[in-house]
């Protein structure tokens, strides 16, 4: 088997389309996972059983079923009784939702790691609940959660090709389609390298952020 740069060149336009889809899925998926995970984590600490219980049930369910099944469900089943969304939108929501159940656990551990004395000091100063969370607890929890959250971003990047199964062609999806059409394999190699090129700097960035936050 030989390596043909011409094939690589032919693949480039579709490669960039795929990269764009992958980065979109990663960026928006991460935002959803980070924000929604915090919502889950806070809801799981609610004193109201009717808030806590459904959230625990839903997050456990999502965490213990495959992402692929969730993507199929969102794409093929949900439109029967709910909104119909484009493959990319569905894929992004699926990734974000799935990973939000993991980030929720990270937040939970981070919040639990804040010493109880911090809550007591906030009570002693009569800080409101909202103020206690925003000014005291979350800023301290954030430092503990950045490294594990970063790991999930990298994991999400590596899971992002799954959205191709519902028709949102990320870079691997594009490569596979291209390879099938042209009976070549160069595109797959290009994409493999591209994953490293995205993931490794991301890891370095997370580590740098970690060093900055841990004071």
């Amino acid at each position: 088997m030989s390596w043909d740069w011409q094939v690589v060149d032919d693949f480039m336009p579709r490669f960039w389309d795929g990269v764009f889809v992958t980065l979109q899925a990663l960026a928006i998926g991460t935002l959803i996972a980070f924000a929604l995970g915090l919502v889950w984590a806070l809801a799981q600490r609610s004193s109201q059983v009717w808030v806590r219980w459904p959230v625990v049930a839903v997050t456990e369910f999502i965490r213990n079923t495959p992402l692929l099944v969730q993507l199929f469900f969102l794409f093929y089943v949900v439109p029967n009784f709910g909104p119909s969304m484009s493959p990319l939108t569905t894929g992004i929501i699926g990734l974000g939702l799935h990973y939000s159940t993991y980030t929720a656990e990270v937040y939970r551990a981070g919040i639990d790691g804040v010493p109880v004395g911090q809550w007591e000091a906030a009570t002693a100063l009569s800080l409101s609940k909202g103020r206690t969370w925003r000014a005291v607890i979350l800023p301290q929890a954030i430092r503990r959660v950045v490294p594990p959250l970063g790991n999930y971003v990298v994991a999400m990047l590596k899971d992002s090709p799954m959205i191709a199964t519902i028709g949102a062609l990320d870079m691997l999806g594009e490569a596979q389609a291209f390879s099938n059409e042209t009976f070549t394999t160069e595109a797959l190699t290009v994409v493999g390298v591209a994953f490293i090129v995205i993931a490794y700097p991301a890891s370095l960035l997370i580590r740098a952020l970690e060093r900055r936050l841990v004071r």
């Binding site: 010493p115 004395g117 000091a121 009570t123 100063l125 009569s126 800080l127 000014a135 005291v136 301290q140």
Partner: protein, 274 residues
């Protein structure tokens, strides 16, 4: 450190001016259990406004529990607590006592400040903001006003140059002095001191106690203090309460309790700690 320090309660502007000598805190048949362990057993006790009261007794006798109940960090199983004549965790509705809502509790609790054994400064905030956070967001002071008051308090505790430091950059003694300033910034009527020197290296204890002595002698703030520093207790207290097994075994002036206690149990305890 002068007598006209910023931590004097401005009685003129206060909605609930404490009449000197009036009853500021009252425990009525307060019982607190942890599992089957009865820590406080139908405790009755009161503190008059402006007094400095020290609670002594063997560990596990319920001293710290009293402070934590007052700060609403714990909930009494039975009985009521009044601060300034208001129920702390109860409200009267149609002539009946019911558990109070969060708003009521916060309103009554604002009169109480606490300094903890482990300081509990907020490590994510600089020293100045540790002190101004609650005055700004709870009392509604302007930032400038809160800053100015915080700086005065920092001067008073001898840390005027540490406003921009983070708590972790300070020694334990310095952190505790910031914690004292933070509690005083809320202008509480009563200051709870929970073994505030127990976590400090021996050479740092004196600095913290000096600050507290100064506050005790130059202000009219009420103090309720749990300590193992008997000399300090003797210095600042108007009244000493000896606790044993969740009850007040005896109470009196420091001269009486330290000099001529009535109970053998008190004598034993004092000879063990002095």
């Amino acid at each position: 450190m002068s007598a006209d320090t910023p931590l004097q309660n401005d009685h003129d502007g206060n909605e609930n001016p404490p009449v000197d000598g009036s009853e500021l805190i009252r425990f009525d048949k307060v019982t607190k259990r942890f599992g089957s362990n009865v820590v406080l057993d139908e405790l009755d006790f009161s503190v008059a406004s402006g007094k400095h009261v020290t609670l002594i007794g063997p560990s596990g006798s319920g001293k710290t529990t009293i402070l934590r109940l007052l700060m609403t960090l714990l909930k009494a199983d039975e009985g009521t607590i009044k601060v300034n004549g208001d129920y702390l965790t109860h409200e009267e509705k149609n002539g009946k006592l019911v558990p109070a809502g969060e708003k009521h509790v916060r309103e009554v609790r604002k009169n109480i400040g606490m300094v903890f054994q482990q300081f509990n400064l907020f490590p994510n905030m600089k020293v100045l903001r540790n002190i101004t956070e609650a005055p700004v967001t709870v009392l509604g002071l302007s930032k400038d006003e809160a800053d100015q008051r915080a700086r005065e308090l920092l001067d008073m505790v001898g840390l005027g140059d540490k406003a921009d430091a983070y708590p972790t950059q300070l020694s334990g003694g310095q952190q505790q002095r910031v914690a004292i300033a933070r509690a005083l910034a809320m202008r509480p009527q009563v200051l709870l001191l929970d073994e505030v020197t127990s976590a400090l290296d021996p050479e740092l204890v004196a600095g913290v106690l000096d600050v507290l002595r100064d506050i005790a002698h130059t202000t009219d703030i009420t103090m309720l203090c749990v300590t193992h520093e008997m000399n300090f207790a003797r210095d600042i207290s108007d009244q000493v309460l000896m606790f044993d097994s969740g009850r007040v075994l005896e109470s009196g002036t420091p001269e009486k309790i330290f000099g001529d206690p009535e109970h053998d149990r008190t004598r034993e305890f004092l000879s063990a700690v002095l």
